[in-house]
Symmetry: none
Subunit: 194 residues, 4 copies
DNA sequence: TATGAATGAGATTTCATTCAT
DNA sequence: TATGAATGAAATCTCATTCAT
């Protein structure tokens, strides 16, 4: 299972396209192979099984989020500014890759429990970073000292997720990124002391 | 397609149990029929196809939410109090029916795009009620006049949804209902003018 | 798994024909279904899986041997006469069902270890009857008192088996049944005291 | 197709080991290549295809039997003594190479009809030698003049084969070689005039 | 000679749905 | 209305073999 060879990336990218265009249940291995320009059997030189392709898609793409967020967190900015950048980043990555948006918001959710469990493990890393952001806000006295961190993070992630899903279901008709300031403002006020 | 006969309800209830206990992908029509105490073929006297069973499950159960929320909205209460009651109601219905919680938060999400679009149509009714609540808040000057209603509602629904899903994924180990005040408070502040 | 319905027998018989005519590895379930005049899926109402079909073929057909041998053993005959009848019976059943002969002597031996283990269990019943025959011969002093029963039975079965396999490999060109007296005579002498 | 180079022998020996340890159906070409310490493709410089490896295994190993038997036949011994030595030799070669015993008695029998016909061709050479032994016995008046040579040889081979297969299936728990005298005695008596 | 990455054909099994009774 | 036996389409994965290097 080589994870570095160009063919590995070819197949992951092909999977995103095929799933976005055909839907999760119509994304047969043979379609992915065709899109990637390799034989069906070649897939299995790089992935253990079909599930392994899907979890890899998620892992590879989620890495982009994590990397960006990490960068934002290390900057010397106020929490309100960081929060805005986090939301904007989340929105931007998905607006700029419409296929990926469909895949993460609609298609991959159709996967079975096993796969979703694995996806959740990948998501945890992202969640931890969101937790860090909020914790920092409390420490710096920018957010309420009484904030329930878990609930706050669930509000953050749930709001972004629902906003994006609605946008995808509305066929990505409006500009998502420009909604980020309003969203982060609402969240911020929710997190602040009265 | 009789929607009133007892057998219709029998089958819907059987579906909830079977899906919760076996998972979406292991909820075969024959299992549902067995649980309902009818023959496989009988299912098709009451439902067009399997998807029709699932959407019916959602529609029937969602009716409980809508009914409750409707009642709350007509009461003579402040928005902050109504918001609390809405969140509490949402949490309570699902905490009191663990099978249903599993089905709505985890299992039904595995359905295909078509079914999910239909589910979203059912959800719309609920969304409209949430919109009304927020609108009323703006009109009564309890919420910021600059509130973006759609985003606000997405924050409301997204936060509740994510909170419940996390709770289900944590095997419903803690008390969900008691989180309602904190959640509604955070939301409320987010919706208010500084 | 109904073992009595006519369709069960239909499928078993079809399996014998298909395996004999196409060979073990070319006996696809769909071919068997076609030969039996049922749909592919119907097979799985009567058999757990493909292996279950094959072991059933063996079990059903072996029952004929066991039944016949049992009958012979209960007759009031000399051991030499019983031995002759046993050999003759073995040869006759297979000569009269050329398909079955091909299946038992050539095709079913290609099965994997698991299946062969199960087949051996079925064979054991037959082996035990052969043991009884030889034991009776010793008790009645018709066979040498020093006979090693296990080796004697291995000689009996091995000789019959090799004789039939050679006959099958020679495309069943000569009369097998008429060889029974010579074969049983040779065996008998081998079992007798000098 | 060089049959002399060391790599040819390396591969044949690797095949015996891989088949014995993994079973016929789990003996992939790539496993054999790995065991032999060569690349998959290299196999095809020495063998036409996989079947060719297997038939080669059989041919190479059978040569040992043929050589030994030839030697025995040329000795100046009574038929009864030669028969004993033949049986003993057959048992000894397999008892001393447990891997080979498993391969010849269990695994190679799972091969398809084509391969088994080829194996039988190789076996024929051995069968001819057994025929010669029996013929010599008749000529020297040590065996019955009325012996049916083919049946007698089938009894000889079938008995040895079944005895060894039982021993292998019993996990080679007892001493096989020491059974040779009893076996050859039973056979001898069967071949002699009353 | 030697390599090993790539190929692609092929079959078992499940399960939603039908329809004769 | 109700039954349940029968249907049949459809997809993952393996592995012998090839061939460019």
């Amino acid at each position: 299972m080589k994870r570095t060879k160009p063919k590995y990336k070819q197949i992951v990218d092909a999977a995103v396209i095929v799933i976005a265009e055909n839907g999760y249940h119509q994304a047969q291995v043979s379609k992915i192979a065709k899109e990637a320009g390799v034989a069906d059997g070649t897939i299995y030189l790089y992935f253990k099984n079909k599930e392994d392709i899907l979890i890899s898609v998620f892992r590879e793409k989620m890495a982009i989020f994590v990397e960006n967020i990490n960068e934002i967190l290390t900057k010397d900015l106020s929490i309100s500014e960081k929060l805005l950048q986090v939301v904007e980043n989340h929105f931007r990555v998905l607006q700029n890759d419409p296929h990926l948006a469909i895949v993460t918001q609609l298609e991959l959710r159709q996967s079975n429990k096993d796969l979703r469990f694995q996806i959740n493990n990948v998501l945890k890393e992202y969640m931890i970073l969101l937790d860090q952001l909020l914790e920092e806000g409390v420490e710096k006295n920018e957010l309420s000292s009484e904030l329930d961190l878990r609930l706050a993070r669930q509000m953050l992630f749930g709001t972004m997720d629902e906003t994006i899903t609605s946008w995808v279901m509305n066929e990505q008709k409006y500009d998502l990124i420009s909604l980020a300031p309003k969203v982060s403002n609402m969240l911020l006020r929710g997190y602040q002391q009265r």
